[in-house]
Each structure stands twice: as structure tokens, then as C-alpha cells.
């Protein structure tokens, strides 16, 4: 089975190479991309099937056994993230193909889009699989570099303006991450995560705190944790819909993943847990107030994105098995749902010509299918039962109540308030964009005449994600089994360390 | 195929082989190992480089003249040392503002290669600098520092012609060497 482990990175990169070579054959490019990501999904599912009950799978790249070389580790958390990310990226890819075909690829130059998208995917999977701190950095760089390209695709004025914010902030976070790596290597002489787990423990507390803060800072920017989050709502919404969707859904979660990984493996008893809880509270509340204040659907969704990162931090900050399990479940849920909502927002933009609440209206009647595609994931996001958002929140609230303590109770309250305000924000969108009498600028004939008919492939991809998000409710039992086993594995640390050092040194 | 075209082909092959030989030589110098393996590698690499990046052939009208080359090298080294010392002195001399001039030197041999090599040689010697060139008339415009008066300027002009002559005598063809005997070209555009 271990031979499968590098494939989720290798295959998309290979796809990128092939699509570059096929840059004049759009049809083939699309086929290669879909094929590659489908295969990645299959591999991810196989990895999850193996690790769900078994030990982590590891690969010493090039035969250079840990700690000398780079080791790739697929444990439960990583495998789960791989599955979700592969599924989401595949759906978004199909959506963007639909969009590209409908637009004659004017808005999405295929020659750039497919290689960049596939490289983005490879970066994400690499970050999940990295068992080496510097390789984690490289994974981040891959996905970030690709994201810079994708967020500025089309190079319009607004995309350049907002893209600059995104790129510069991300570059700063990369620099901070690299600084952290330099400091950690200086202090420990190793990069291997499993080995770091032991060596960091031996360092004095103050130094540990310094190293931990630098990592948290770097990942906190990527995950959009308040007060490091303000860049996100400014930069995501202007990109093309599939890009915004996959960024919002996936990229922030890679940051969250990195926080989970380093917090549990490297700093399990680190002194920054309380900081995380405070950050969680602020992220939740400031984020959702931002959402309430917005008058554009995509910006509003971006703020809810920030806000709900707070939920995940809440679980991580609790550091209990239940908290981590809830956080991981929430990550999975949020990847799917936030992506879906941004795809739906893309459809809204297509149908209504805008995502500004000022000028939208009557979508529920004009395009009922769009109503379903938005309403269901919106309720899911707001944590309305029986959707997965509710289940994730439930897990976190249970963990919070179990933990007790003033801060935990404040966070329970904060979570509840955030949930309500999310519903309020979503409800406003629904009332204005979907229920209100259509604005005069809205074409009434299903959009066909104005060229605003919704391409089937786009609707289909969004629908698939809606179904996937709803399906999380049905499989929540087994899924929570996996997340709680993943949480246990994370907290025990030993399974990971043993798996890494099982290989022989060359 | 005419005889003329086959002659052209022969010339082209000769140019290619010369180019390849230069590359192989550089290759050997880079490795510093003079073995058959290095040589073989050099030939392969040179061939690949020339094939992948084609460039117009450099056609030498003449051939290297060892004596001329030696004469040129010795004179060049002498000039180099002399000028460097002069200029260093100039630099350290406080309170002195050196005067300079920009002069036109239309070369006698109408060849880009001669133009370039003369220009390089002149440039390499401290105190003179190619400010501009005119390809059509093979003219160098040279900035000279440390010239006190018109006489010094003319002296320098003669030195440039001497350098041109040494270069042509080192690598030029018979025809080119013959051109050196021509009078120094005069200015064509007095009306400007």
C-alpha cells in the first residue's frame, strides 16, 4: 500500500506537465485534468480505507530513511483530508470546465488554468502528506504560488488590486514560516516531524514558546485567524468563481491542518493553548460581525469563512480528543460547504450579473434550482440540523461543555452566537437575493436571452457538492468514528513516530 | 548543385568545425581533465549545443598569424600596465581635474569583427572607452581621459590605428592587411 502514498502529489504534477505539453489541445487538457484528479480521489480513498483502522502509512522518499530524507506520512488525518480535498477539487474542476466551455475559455485561459490548478492540488496534497517540516513549507509554497496565478487569472484591475494584497500577505506568511523552520532547525538540528516531536520537548520553555508562536503565526495567516485574517475578505471575492471556491474551501484549511499537525505532534503541551482559544473567540465573533456588515454575497461568505475558522480553532485549543475530533469533522464539513456556497455564488453572479445584494432579487422564483443549490449549503453552514455543520458544531459544543472552565464556556456561548448570526446573515441574503421582488436589471426569462442560462456542467458540479455535503450527515457516524480515531492518534503521537521510524536507514 | 554552392557548403562546414573545436577546447579547460572521456563528452556537448541553438556562422576572412598574435599580445600587455599605472596615479592625485575628449576613429578595415576586437582592445586599456560605434562606416567613437591637448588627442588616434593594424595582422586576411595601407578615412558629413 505504501506505494500509493506519493501518488496524490505525483499525479497532479504529472498532469500539470502533460497539460503544459498539450497547451494547444484544450479538450485533451480537460480530459487529463479530470482523469488525474479522479485517480487522485481513488488513491485517497484507498489510503483512507487502509489507515482508518490501521497504522499510518509512510514512505521514505528516495529510500533515504528518516530522519535523513523526506518522509511522507499518510495517517488518518492526512488521508481524510486527502479524500475531501480530492473530491472538492474534482468537483470544482468540473465546474470550471463547464464555465470555461460556456465562456469559450475567454475568462479562464486554459493554458494557464489547468497546469496551475493541478499544481495547486499537488501543493495541497503534499502539505497533507508532509512528514518533514521543510517539505511542509514546500507544499505550502506550491499551493501558494499556484494560488497567486489563479487569483489573478484574467488580470483585471480589481483582481490585480486584491491579488496584490493576497500575494504580499501570503509571501510574508511564507517568510515567517521559513524563519520558523530556520529557528527550529537551529535549535534541534532536524526537520523530521516525528523526530522534532522528541527534540522540541527537550528545549527550554521560553524557546519552545518562541518557536511555537512563529509557526502559529505563519499558519494563522494562512488559516485566516483574527487578527491575521483581514486580508482574506479583501482578496478572495474578486477571483473567478471556481478559484474563490477552492481557495475558500480548501486553502484556509491547509493552514488549519498545519496548526493541528504541529500543535498535536510538536507542541502537545505547549503554552499557547489559551492563546488559541482567545483567538478562536475573536475570529468567530469579529468574523461573523464582518459578514453581517457586508452587502455583497461573496464578501459576506468570505467573512463567514473567517468566522468559522474560529470553530476549528476552538476544538484545537481545547486539545481534548473530543475537541480535536470535532475540529477535524468541522474542517471536513467546512471544506465541502464553503466551496459549494462559493460555487453557488458564482452561479448567482452568472444568473443575476452581480453578487451585490443591492441589485439582486427574486432568484428563488426565477431559478428555483439555484435556490436549492444555495439554500441547502447555506443552512448547512449556519449549522441548522440535521446538516453536517450542526453535527460538527455539536461535537465542538460537547467538547467545550466537557472541558468546562471559564474560557471554554465563553467559547460555547460565542459559538452559539456565531451560529445565530451566521443564520441571520444567510437569512438576509436569502430574503434579499432570492425572495425580494426582482430588480429591474434582472432578466426574467430564465436568463436564456441575456446569455445567463446556467451551464449544466456548472450546475451539476455544484449539485454534486450539495449532495456530498448533505451526505456527510448520513455518514456522520462512520465519519465521526474516523475523526475521533484520528484525534486519538494525534494525541497519542506514538503511532506517528513509530510509523516514521520503522524504515531502515540506507 | 553548382561548384559555387559546394564551396559555400565547404566553408560552412569549416566554420562549424572551428566553432565546435573552440567549444571542445572550452569544455576541456572547464573540466581541466584531458582524457578521452572528456574529449568525447565535449564533442557530444558541442554538437548538441550547436544543433539546439543555431546561430549564423562566423566566417573568418583570414587565418591566425602566430607572430602577429604574439606581437599584439605583448604590446597589449605593455599598454595595459602602463595605462593602469597612469590612471592609478591620476586617481590618487588630489585636486586635479583630468581633461578628456571624444574622438571619431573610422577604421580602415570595414569588418564588424575588426571593429569589435579593436574596440575591445582599446576598451581594455584603461583610459579609453568606446562611447559609440557606427557599423556602416566601421567607426569607433572613443572617450579618452587624461589628454591635455589636441596633440595628445591625435597621438591617441594614431595609437588606435596602430592597434587596428596589429589586430588585422594577427587574424586578418591578406586583403584586409592590404587595406591597412590605405589613407585614414576622412569625415564624410561635414554639413551637419
Amino acid at each position: 500500500m505504501t506505494w500509493l502514498v506519493p501518488l496524490p502529489v505525483i499525479m497532479p504534477l504529472l498532469g500539470a506537465a502533460v497539460t503544459l505539453l498539450l497547451r494547444r489541445r484544450p479538450v485533451l487538457q480537460r480530459a487529463v485534468s479530470v482523469l488525474v484528479l479522479s485517480a487522485t480521489l481513488v488513491v485517497a480513498v484507498l489510503l483512507l480505507a487502509s489507515t482508518a483502522t490501521g497504522p499510518p502509512l509512510t514512505v521514505a522518499v528516495g529510500g533515504w530513511a528518516a530522519p535523513l530524507g523526506i518522509v511522507l506520512v499518510a495517517d488518518r488525518l492526512a488521508a481524510l483530508m486527502l479524500v475531501v480535498s480530492a473530491a472538492v477539487t474534482l468537483c470544482v474542476l468540473v465546474y470550471s470546465i463547464g464555465q470555461g466551455m460556456a465562456d469559450g475559455d475567454d475568462a479562464v485561459p486554459v493554458a494557464v488554468y489547468h497546469p496551475a490548478y493541478l499544481i495547486l492540488t499537488a501543493g495541497v496534497t503534499n502539505a497533507f502528506l508532509a512528514g518533514d517540516l521543510f517539505n511542509l513549507y514546500v507544499g505550502f509554497e506550491i499551493l501558494l504560488a499556484a494560488s497567486y496565478v489563479l487569483i489573478t487569472i484574467g488580470a483585471t484591475r480589481s483582481r490585480i488590486r486584491t491579488g496584490t494584497t493576497y500575494v504580499v500577505v501570503s509571501l510574508l506568511s511564507s517568510l515567517i514560516f521559513l524563519t520558523a523552520i530556520g529557528l527550529i532547525y537551529a535549535a534541534t538540528g532536524t526537520l523530521n516531524l516525528a523526530q522534532l516531536a522528541g527534540r522540541l520537548d527537550a528545549l527550554p520553555d521560553g524557546l519552545q514558546l518562541g518557536l511555537q508562536s512563529m509557526l502559529l503565526l505563519a499558519f494563522g495567516i494562512k488559516a485566516a485567524v483574527f487578527p491575521l485574517s483581514a486580508w482574506l475578505p479583501d482578496s478572495y471575492p474578486t477571483a473567478i468563481a471556481p478559484v474563490t471556491a477552492v481557495f475558500a474551501g480548501l486553502l484556509t484549511k491547509v493552514g488549519v491542518y498545519a496548526i493541528i499537525r504541529t500543535q498535536t505532534l510538536l507542541f502537545p503541551d505547549g503554552p499557547a493553548g489559551g492563546v488559541l482559544l482567545v483567538a478562536a473567540l475573536l475570529t468567530m465573533t469579529v468574523g461573523i460581525l464582518g459578514a453581517v456588515a457586508q452587502s455583497d454575497i461573496k464578501r459576506l461568505l468570505s467573512f463567514t469563512l473567517v468566522s468559522h475558522i474560529g470553530y476549528m480553532l476552538f476544538g484545537i485549543g481545547l486539545a481534548s480528543s473530543a475537541g480535536l475530533s470535532g475540529a477535524i469533522f468541522y474542517v471536513v464539513h467546512h471544506i465541502v460547504v464553503q466551496t459549494t456556497l462559493f460555487l453557488a455564488a458564482g452561479l448567482i453572479e452568472r444568473r443575476g450579473g452581480t453578487t451585490t445584494l443591492d441589485r439582486l432579487g427574486g432568484l428563488a422564483r426565477l431559478t428555483p434550482v439555484l435556490g436549492v443549490l444555495f439554500f441547502v449549503p447555506a443552512l448547512n453552514l449556519a449549522g441548522i440540523p440535521p446538516f453536517s455543520g450542526f453535527l460538527g458544531k455539536l461535537g465542538l459544543l460537547q467538547a467545550g461543555v466537557d472541558a468546562g472552565g471559564a474560557l471554554a464556556w465563553v467559547l460555547v456561548a460565542g459559538s452559539v452566537v456565531t451560529s445565530l448570526l451566521t443564520l441571520y446573515a444567510i437569512g438576509r441574503v436569502w430574503n434579499l437575493a432570492f425572495w425580494r421582488t426582482p430588480h429591474a436589471s434582472m432578466p426574467a426569462d430564465g436568463g436564456a436571452r441575456a446569455g445567463r442560462a446556467l451551464p449544466r456542467l456548472m450546475v451539476g458540479a455544484t449539485l454534486a457538492l450539495v449532495v456530498l455535503g448533505t451526505g456527510l450527515t448520513v455518514v456522520s457516524g462512520p465519519l465521526f468514528d474516523i475523526t475521533s480515531r484520528a484525534a486519538t492518534e494525534l494525541r497519542e503521537r506514538q503511532p506517528y513516530v513509530h510509523a516514521v521510524f520503522a524504515e531502515e536507514v540506507p | 548543385m553548382t561548384a559555387g554552392s559546394s564551396a559555400v557548403r565547404r566553408t560552412r562546414w569549416r566554420d562549424r568545425i572551428v566553432a565546435a573545436l573552440v567549444l571542445v577546447a572550452v569544455w576541456m579547460l572547464l573540466w581541466g581533465v584531458f582524457s578521452w572521456a572528456t574529449l568525447a563528452g565535449g564533442i557530444v556537448v558541442a554538437a548538441v549545443v550547436l544543433k539546439v541553438f543555431p546561430l549564423p556562422a562566423v566566417t573568418f576572412a583570414g587565418r591566425p598569424h602566430p607572430l602577429g598574435l604574439l606581437r599584439f599580445a605583448v604590446r597589449f600587455a605593455g599598454d595595459l600596465v602602463r595605462a593602469s599605472v597612469q590612471l592609478a596615479v591620476l586617481a590618487f592625485r588630489l585636486g586635479h581635474q583630468p581633461r578628456s575628449a571624444i574622438i571619431r576613429v573610422p577604421l580602415r578595415v570595414p569588418s564588424d569583427l575588426v571593429l569589435t576586437l579593436t574596440g575591445e582592445a582599446v576598451s581594455l586599456v584603461p583610459g579609453s572607452l568606446i562611447v559609440d560605434t557606427d557599423q556602416a562606416s566601421t567607426t569607433l567613437y572613443i572617450h579618452v581621459i587624461g589628454v591635455a591637448d589636441r596633440d595628445a588627442v591625435e597621438r591617441f588616434r594614431r595609437e588606435v590605428y596602430a592597434t587596428e593594424a596589429r589586430i588585422v595582422r594577427a587574424i586578418g586576411s591578406e586583403a584586409e592587411i592590404g587595406m591597412l595601407g590605405r589613407p585614414v578615412p576622412v569625415r564624410r558629413r561635414e554639413d551637419s
Partner: protein, 120 residues
């Protein structure tokens, strides 16, 4: 006096004189009144100074692999340095940075056309 000591002496002399030429360049670069004059100062460490130091290094390393490399370095430097000087000098002149008051004659000005290049 062994061969070794003699070699070191030669190398030392080369190195020190090369360094002196570099310093002279620095001084000239700072003191010469206009840019074209400074450019002449710049030539010294690029040519003679460098050649001297390379020679010094060659004496010290006296290993065929390294000496060949040093020869190449010297050749490459001799080929490329004048090009840079020429291109910069041309730009300086065309940008009007050549100080006319320091020039005894300027024969290029007589020949210049609108686009900066000399007449054909």
C-alpha cells in the same frame, strides 16, 4: 629560498598589486568629476587588477584543473568587460551625462542623429 617561498612571494606581489589597483578604482570612482571619467577608473580592477590576482591564485593553487579554470575566467572577463563598459558609456553619453566642459573635443556630437546613434 625554496621554490615554494618564491612562488608565495610572486603570488603575494600579484595579489597585493591587484588589490592596490582595486583601491585605485575605488578612489577614482569617488573622485573623478564625471561619469565617463569614473568609468575609466572602473576598468582597472576589471582588467589588470583581476589578471594579477588570477595569476596570484594560479600560482598558489598550481593544480592543472584549477589553473585552466582561472585561464577561462581571465579570458571571459577580457571579452565581456569592454562590452559592459561600451554599453554603459553609450547610455551615459546619450543620456547627456557627458560633461562638455571637461571635453577638449567631442567629435561624436557632430555626427549624432535624432535617435542617438551616429549618422551612417
Amino acid at each position: 629560498m625554496t621554490v615554494q617561498t618564491l612562488a608565495d612571494l610572486v603570488a603575494g606581489a600579484c595579489l597585493v598589486s591587484g588589490a592596490v589597483l582595486s583601491l585605485a578604482a575605488g578612489v577614482g570612482l569617488l573622485r573623478f568629476p564625471d561619469l565617463l571619467s569614473r568609468m575609466h577608473a572602473a576598468t582597472k580592477p576589471q582588467v589588470l587588477g583581476l589578471l594579477l590576482i588570477l595569476a596570484g591564485a594560479a600560482v598558489r593553487l598550481h593544480n592543472i584543473i584549477d589553473v585552466t579554470t582561472l585561464v577561462l575566467v581571465g579570458v571571459f572577463q577580457l571579452v565581456t568587460a569592454p562590452v559592459a563598459a561600451h554599453m554603459v558609456g553609450r547610455a551615459v553619453y546619450r543620456a547627456g551625462q557627458a560633461r562638455g566642459d571637461l571635453l577638449i573635443v567631442d567629435e561624436l556630437r557632430e555626427d549624432r542623429t535624432d535617435d542617438g546613434s551616429p549618422a551612417r
